[in-house]
């Protein structure tokens, strides 16, 4: 029987950091249990399990619309493991970043102190696609603008976590974190039983708590606002609404009169206090933004400005996850928090400086070029994998619109064994941990979405670019159980319940099966 890990390439010089193997054949300590459980399985065994997994996802409608077609979001059967110590670094780094960005947003939509102090040039902020003057004067009830964030992290060639980009508008993917875990426990129970994994299922409760905390009234009505069933992340919107026990509304279900937002129900209009919106800023309110939008509700933003409704995440957050602003975040952390960044950025070049631009244009084939307002991996050009024609093209576009692009060093993302065919092969991954801010505390869900680029050598992991995902296990290092499971030992022994009532037809099975044999 062929070993699953046979021919698994590890440790080539200058290659990506492999998370399972430091050197061929010897797994890193965190992965020892997983390695030992997987090794006796044959590739075919694993393939069968993987097919069960894929089937389960399809049946439950856990899909991602890709080019208009609903497809299952491929879940790889080999989980990714993060040790407790590593996780503490990630957690601290994410929390720090969210705090700094919250302070930055409050500042740019308020006094603008950071601009006056010249930490961030005013032109960078005001030329951002997502800087909305309409959001000025909207003061969040509990000071929170980034209720939910997803900071994309990668591990570089040395295994250190770095921030690739921030997502503080409407980060998606948390539903896959929850569903991946559920599905994996059904399909690979033996691995689960051997590892102490921190649970992720309380995310909806966490989110609901934060949304309620952001409400202008006590005992608020919370809704999730979705663009509708054709949105690529509709599955997630429905899951979150279901698990929070709140209504999933579309723009046409809402009505806003006199700065009061209400939803149309069979019992008349019912007031809405908090809107967890999954609709982009531009489509949210036809009065303020695109007048042709049918996805939002006219008057929402004014209602928020009047403090009658909370929109989460806040409008205008996009200025904080603009990719050019990303280059300023380490300085923002020092400026607002007087701390050193816990997670470094990837080395990035600002192309609005003519000298830097010249330097970059001369070595396009060794860099990664990203449009500043692109999301979902759209428009990214990886120099080393691009044709000469593509490079020339992107060079021209940069010269036309230097503010619209950034250049980054090409980081070889870390790899994790991934089932390809019936063999395991290294594939590049990233990590998106989700943080929820309820105004008092920023909690990071222990886990997060690991996306994996399935084509060999590919570095873009976005689900909209045909990527898959992995279940992400944050291992707990002791402490009490975060679950509280029936622990009969604590209770006085209760007399065993009686047997279920017996009825006719008992014992029929054995006799019948025997007759079948004859």
């Amino acid at each position: 029987m062929a070993d699953l890990f046979e021919d698994y390439p590890v440790g080539a010089a200058g290659a990506a950091w492999d998370e399972m193997f430091g050197e061929p054949g010897t797994p890193r300590p965190d992965y020892e249990t997983l390695h030992a459980t997987l090794r006796p399985l044959s590739g075919a065994d694993l393939r069968v399990r993987a097919d069960v997994l894929a089937r389960a996802f399809l049946d439950q409608g856990i899909t991602f619309a890709f080019g208009g077609v609903e497809r299952p979001f491929p879940l790889d059967i080999v989980p990714r493991i993060i040790s407790a110590a590593q996780w503490r670094t990630v957690e601290a780094g994410v929390v720090q970043r969210v705090r700094a960005l919250e302070a930055f947003l409050a500042d740019v939509y308020g006094a603008g102190q950071v601009l006056a102090d010249g930490i961030v040039p005013r032109r960078v902020v005001v030329t951002s696609q997502h800087f909305h003057r309409e959001a000025a004067g909207v003061v969040p009830v509990n000071g929170v603008r980034i209720h939910v964030s997803g900071v994309d992290l990668i591990r570089d060639e040395e295994g250190a976590f770095r921030v690739l980009e921030d997502n503080v508008r409407i980060p998606s993917g948390v539903s896959y974190v929850m569903e991946n875990r559920r599905a994996m426990a059904h399909v690979l129970p033996e691995v689960f039983a051997a590892t102490r994994i921190q649970p992720v299922e309380e995310y909806p409760a966490m989110l609901l708590r934060a949304l309620k905390a952001a409400s202008p009234v006590d005992d608020p009505t919370v809704v999730v606002l979705t663009p509708g069933v054709h949105n690529s992340a509709y599955f997630e919107h429905a899951l979150l609404a279901r698990e929070m026990g709140v209504e999933l509304v579309e723009g046409r279900d809402l009505v806003c009169v006199g700065n009061e937002v209400a939803m149309r129900t069979t019992a008349g209009e019912q007031r809405v206090d908090v809107i967890y919106r999954r609709v982009d800023d531009e489509f949210l309110d036809p009065v303020q933004f695109r007048a042709d939008s049918a996805l939002g509700c006219a008057g929402l933003l004014n209602a928020a400005r009047a403090g009658r409704v909370t929109i989460a995440n806040a409008v205008g957050n996009g200025v904080a996850d603009d990719k050019l602003l990303y280059t300023y975040v380490p300085e923002l952390i020092r400026y607002y928090l007087n701390e050193e960044p816990a997670l470094p950025n990837v080395e990035t070049y600002r192309l609005d400086d003519p000298d830097v631009r010249e330097f970059v244009l001369a070595r396009l084939d060794r860099l990664v070029l990203k449009p500043v307002d692109g999301s979902g991996g759209a428009g990214i050009v990886i120099g080393s994998q691009a044709t000469a024609e593509q490079l020339a093209n992107v060079g021209r576009r940069i010269e036309l619109d230097p503010r619209g692009w950034i250049a980054q060093r090409e980081v070889s993302l870390s790899t994790v064994p991934t089932l390809i065919g019936d063999r395991l092969a290294p594939r590049h991954v990233d990590l998106r941990p989700f943080a929820v801010n309820d105004g008092r505390r920023i909690s990071v869900l222990p886990g997060g979405l690991t996306r994996v680029a399935l084509p060999e050598g590919a570095l873009v992991v976005n689900s909209s670019q045909g990527g898959g995902s992995k279940d992400t296990w944050v291992v707990s290092d002791g402490g009490p159980s975060p679950y509280a499971y029936p622990d009969a030992a604590l209770e006085p022994v209760v007399a065993a319940a009686t047997q279920p009532d017996p009825g006719p037809g008992a014992g029929a099975y054995a006799a019948q099966q025997q007759q079948q044999q004859q």
Partner: protein, 312 residues
């Protein structure tokens, strides 16, 4: 209707419900044990077995496999999923002239599918198997609903189903009272009943002991709550008595059920929480008492005559 047929229908109702509920309980609890490696597997399994009324006095260690074996695959015991489904099919076989052909076919197909149950569990894990069981039970419920006329036979089937539901929900809740009442385990319970999302919508996402207990015991609109099942059973019994007479209620079964229902319905939620173990034990006793009363009233009204060997 023949007593024998009535009894068969009553037991088809009970067995199918038992199979479905046991599959639900096992599925969710086993998943929970795996997802939470802090669990003491032995203790949790023993607690589950004892709540389901399976003997655990044997000395050997009990693990997940043992639980699946005992509550899932034991063919000699009608308390297991397999045993209950086989017994339901056996009852349908004896009453094929009243059970619709489609229902019989459904039960029989299910029964045939049980032959390789163990193999399937080995190959693909317990979850797909229990899911299949749940689906088959739902198919039967749907066929009964659409192909049976609402006569006595239907009433006995629904009566059996409702009584079993009370019993099973009470047992399920007992797993919680043994846990010492903590919130995440309510999640397990609500999921076992398929009530998780309905519950969240009803209470707008708030998770508390009081609400969860209220929902599973007292909700009038959720069909798996104890109160809803008691009310359904009572309605069936009332309809089975063509002449209610003038004095009180006519039958012992109605008296037992009515007492249990009022006892539950008129308790305040606080009282209910503090006396949960007693309430649940009481419900289990009620089910047995109703079972006896129904048998005595409808199935064994006339004592069977037994022929004895001639005494020389």
């Amino acid at each position: 209707m023949l007593s024998r047929i009535a009894e068969s229908l009553y037991w088809i109702g009970r067995y199918v419900e038992r199979a479905e509920d046991t599959a639900r309980i096992l599925d969710v609890h086993l998943h929970r044990m795996l997802a939470d490696p802090w669990t003491d597997e032995e203790v949790a399994c023993r607690s589950l077995l004892s709540v389901m009324g399976a003997a655990t006095d044997r000395l050997d260690a009990v693990g997940v496999t043992g639980v699946v074996e005992r509550l899932g695959l034991d063919t000699t015991d009608t308390g297991s999923v397999l045993g209950a489904l086989a017994a339901a099919r056996e009852n349908a076989r004896g009453s094929r002239e009243t059970v619709s052909a489609e229902m019989w076919e459904c039960l029989n197909t299910t029964w045939l599918g049980l032959a390789d149950a163990r193999d399937r569990i080995d190959r693909r894990g317990v979850h797909p198997f229990f899911q299949w069981v749940r689906e088959r039970c739902c198919v039967l419920a749907g066929l009964a609903d659409t192909t049976m006329s609402r006569d006595e036979g239907w009433l006995f089937l629904v009566l059996g189903r409702s009584i079993e539901r009370v019993d099973m929900t009470a047992r399920l809740l007992s797993t919680h009272t043994r846990a010492g009442g903590t919130i995440p385990s309510w999640l397990t319970l609500l999921r076992s009943c398929g009530a998780w999302e309905t519950y969240l919508r009803t209470y707008r996402g708030s998770l508390s002991d009081r609400h969860a207990a209220e929902f599973l015991l007292l909700d009038r609109l959720f069909p798996r709550s104890v109160l809803a099942a008691l009310i359904t059973a009572e309605t069936c019994l009332a309809e089975l008595e063509p002449d209610p007479g003038r004095v009180g209620v006519g039958t012992e079964a109605q008296r037992v059920l009515g007492r249990a229902r009022t006892e539950l319905a008129y308790k305040s939620p606080e009282e209910l929480l503090t006396s949960l173990p007693q309430v649940l034990a009481g419900l289990e006793r009620t089910c047995s008492a109703v079972n006896e009363a129904v048998s005595a009233r409808y199935f064994r009204q006339t004592a069977a005559v037994a022929w004895a060997e001639a005494v020389a």
